[in-house]
């Protein structure tokens, strides 16, 4: 990727290193704060799962963060954490897992010792293994398949976008993969991947000055180097749109669509693409094009958003979860459940709005408004020490700090820059589309026949200009070849 002059002016985030060990370290002191956040990020994820053992990275991380140590059973760990109100949060994705907690500085030493024990001296007991493996299996086959249609759609979308690629199975694993994993597999995976060279230690808040160095040094007890990290394979090319219809009982149809792109935060084109996605639909805000045209004007659903990287919401906030870096990213549109009878229309409208952006470019007023919005909004992404630390660590991995990058580039960014990046990287031609819910057979028939899919209103007085646009959208090209339409049951997903 070429770098613009403005992009080059943004300093890269560099982690501290020690001559004594290869562990990278980020510190963000905030002496007045009574709280301290610790983040231990290992650059290992579901992309490292062994073929046939899908779910191994996740299960290994769980065996470190949610299980006993040589010194204490998991029950004893929970007992020790309790009075401090400390919890070890473990989460991860394709390329990284992180262990994190925020504690009161009164409890920092005791907590840090417990967390170090978790990582350095895991118990690997059969009881913990049985519990966590069953939890993963239930999470996949019961909770994901049957309790959350939107997440099911997103996970199913990944299997289409990244078919035959290390990103193509849920981080939780597959049914066959989990069944095949033994406790020895976990021990072996731990020894090869949870190593100093893959670790970054982050500390933020009101910690004693000597704490970060001393704490990072404790992890020098891990093997210095693990299995060399293989290059991530290119995403196999797909030809044309694909439609995966997941048939299950539901009141609405949850829709996710996306396509891999060549851009991550490491690239200069990421910032203009982020602006374009924000214009289409910043997560859980009300001012994006999709939100206004689909929810506000038509009452189709609860929300409609667009992204240019994998997005996981941070708890109940509006903001993205930090520390889920990826080497490959994708463009994604998330349509919250729509009435099944209007699902075809909703898909067409999302494509119509995206194509309009690609074809006509971002309107000048929309560009200016989104640029102003992002110039302020990005400051909200890192409000507390934990999130600031997460972003700083992500900046080390990507070589660029997305917040600093946007703040530096937005003032001089031009509409042409956005339009060029959009035309270069975004296309709906090879879009993967997933619909979860009832009535998908009718949708399949309509799409394969090329029939119009009109919106069905049960409300009055829709403005004439909206109705006129509806006529256009209901027949907007949705060129999915018959062979590219699959209907599966939720029960059949993620088997292997």
């Amino acid at each position: 990727m070429s770098l613009s002059a403005a992009a080059l002016s943004v300093p890269s985030q560099v982690a501290e290193t020690s001559p004594a060990h290869p562990i990278r370290m980020i510190r963000l002191p905030s002496p007045a704060s009574p709280l301290v956040t610790v983040r231990l990020l290992f650059q290992v994820g579901a992309a490292d799962d062994l073929p046939g053992k899908e779910g191994l990275a996740h299960l290994t991380a769980a065996m470190l963060g949610e299980a006993g140590t040589l010194k204490r059973t998991w029950s004893e760990v929970l007992d020790a954490l309790y009075p401090m109100a400390a919890e070890i949060h473990v989460y991860g994705d394709k390329d990284a897992f992180v262990f994190t907690s925020t504690v009161h500085r009164d409890n920092l030493d005791a907590f840090a010792t417990l967390l170090a024990e978790q990582i350095l001296t895991p118990r690997f007991s059969t009881e913990d293994f049985t519990r966590l493996k069953q939890d993963a299996l239930d999470g996949l086959t019961k909770t994901l398949r049957g309790n959350d249609d939107e997440n099911l759609g997103k996970q199913a979308l990944a299997t289409v976008m990244y078919a035959r690629h290390p990103y193509g199975h849920p981080t939780l694993g597959t049914v066959a993969g989990l069944a095949a994993i033994t406790l020895d597999d976990v021990k072996d995976f731990y020894a090869r991947h949870f190593t100093q060279d893959r670790l970054m230690v982050g500390v933020a808040g009101g910690y004693p000055e000597s704490f970060p160095d001393a704490y990072a040094a404790r992890f020098a007890a891990l093997p210095a180097q693990g299995q060399p990290r293989p290059q991530l394979a290119p995403v196999p090319a797909r030809k044309g749109m694909e439609l995966l219809l997941v048939e299950k009982s539901a009141l609405g149809n949850a829709i996710s669509m996306g396509v891999p792109i060549d851009v991550t935060r490491s690239d200069a084109d990421f910032c203009p693409l982020a602006l374009a996605a924000s214009y289409l639909g910043e997560h859980r805000t009300f001012t994006g094009v999709l939100m206004i045209s689909m929810r506000q004007k038509r009452g189709l659903n609860y929300g409609d958003y667009a992204y240019v990287e994998n997005f996981i919401q941070d708890g109940w906030t509006t903001f993205p979860l930090p520390n889920i870096p990826r080497r490959r990213q994708h463009f994604e549109i998330w349509l919250r459940p729509v009435p099944p009878k209007s699902a075809g229309f909703a898909i067409r409208q999302a494509i119509y709005e995206t194509d309009k952006l690609i074809r006509e470019g971002i309107p000048a007023a929309g560009f200016e408004a989104t640029r102003t919005f992002l110039s302020n909004y990005v400051n909200l992404w890192a409000q507390d020490g934990s999130r600031r630390l997460g972003y700083a660590m992500d900046a080390v991995i990507y070589g660029r700090d997305i917040i600093a990058d946007l703040l530096a580039r937005l003032p001089t960014m031009t509409k042409d820059e956005v339009d060029r990046a959009v035309r270069k990287h975004l296309s709906t031609k090879d879009l993967a589309i997933v619909v979860v819910g009832d009535g998908v057979r009718e949708l399949a028939a309509a799409v394969s026949s090329g029939a119009a899919t009109p919106i069905v209103y049960d409300t009055r007085d829709t403005p004439a200009e909206v109705l006129a646009e509806d006529k256009h959208i209901e027949s907007y090209p949705l060129p999915v070849a018959k062979a590219q339409i699959r209907i599966v049951s939720a029960a059949g997903l993620f088997e292997k």
Binding site: Y82, D106, D135, K248, T459, R460
Partner: protein, 430 residues
Amino acid sequence: MLAPAKAFPFPTTIKTLANGLRVFVVAFDSPGLVAYYSIVRVGSRNEVEPGKSGFAHFFEHMMFRGTARFPTEKYNAAIKAMGADSNAFTSDDMTVYHILAGTSALPTIVTIEADRFRHLDYSEAEFQKEARAVLGEYNKGASNPLQPMVEALYDNAYTTHTYKHTTIGFLRDIEDMPNQFAYSRQFFDRYYRPDNVILLVVGDVTAAEVLPLIETHYGGWQKGPPHPEVPPEPPQTEEKRARVPWKGASLPMLLLGFHAPAFSTTNLDSAAMEVLAELVFAERSPLFRRLVLDEQKVEHLEGGCERHVDPNLFTVFARVKQAKDVPYVEKTIYEEIARLAAEGVREKTLAEVVSRTRYAFTGQLSTANKVALVGSEFLALTGSLSAIDDTFDLLARVTVADVKRVAAKYFTPQNRTVVVLDPEAPHEPQ
């Protein structure tokens, strides 16, 4: 142990306008940022008229539909220009509108917020479209079995009080919302009044900056009419049970509800129930260790009592690994509470609960927005921020005898409602 400093230590200025609007300005170290919360003391608890369940939440949506001065597009443009995080939420007892933005945006925030609270204006066509966005929100939640389970729990546990319905409302009422335009104006007129609203402003601002702006923009707002009474719930006299069928995959689930006292800063029962929740259901509890770790029959276990204006439910939720174990899990939970009622706990364990609760609370207060979020709940429930410290003072006074007493008093068969999710059962049309 955390020193007995104030739980809510931030300097606060309080002002009540002549029209009854109360304003709390809280100084918090968040350079350049301000959280602006408009707390309306109305929630699904106030939905007393038949067929109107879910209306407080629906109305929250309508508040984003503009005024004559700031129609939706202009309001949205103003929010967008600030780069604000702006949204709202509704619960049983409150509706809270929140904006987080740069401090330079404060004058604009006060202007547009005062304008929509005083002069909201929308067409029936816009009203109808928004009603369908609410239906979309219901449908979104309906893929999680907890939604029908919670609906069934409250519908069965209550006969009279409006806690009988959940905040999003019954589906039949949501489907009818497009027809309730006239009622929506009445609702606004009744509840969106200065004497029923509290403003909470937290962050890098001073009272001297905030209060004159608020006087100017909210000063002419008129007080409202009295509110309809919320009918009290008579005591439950027998155990109630409901089964929720589920088509598709799911772990079996168990949801229990016990009628419990309203939130209070003076009633020891209220604080003792919070302590009991920790003693019986925290991850370090003997019950968790037995069901989740040792026997591995339960995948997730939690129990507690959310703070409410009127007496609500102490709920217990368990995701069970196998349907055959649900009766065993239910029985074991009752036995554990009975054991607590009989035997109590060690003083040290009780002290650790208090310590944890204080540390957990302090941990929540890490940003201006989080401070405002925490503060808004106490303001909606009690009208005061000193209620926070009163709550912790009360918690520290709870004795082992108090815990034993509430365990025996509230966790009786005739006071409970039991809901079981049965994924094995055939689906029944709703």
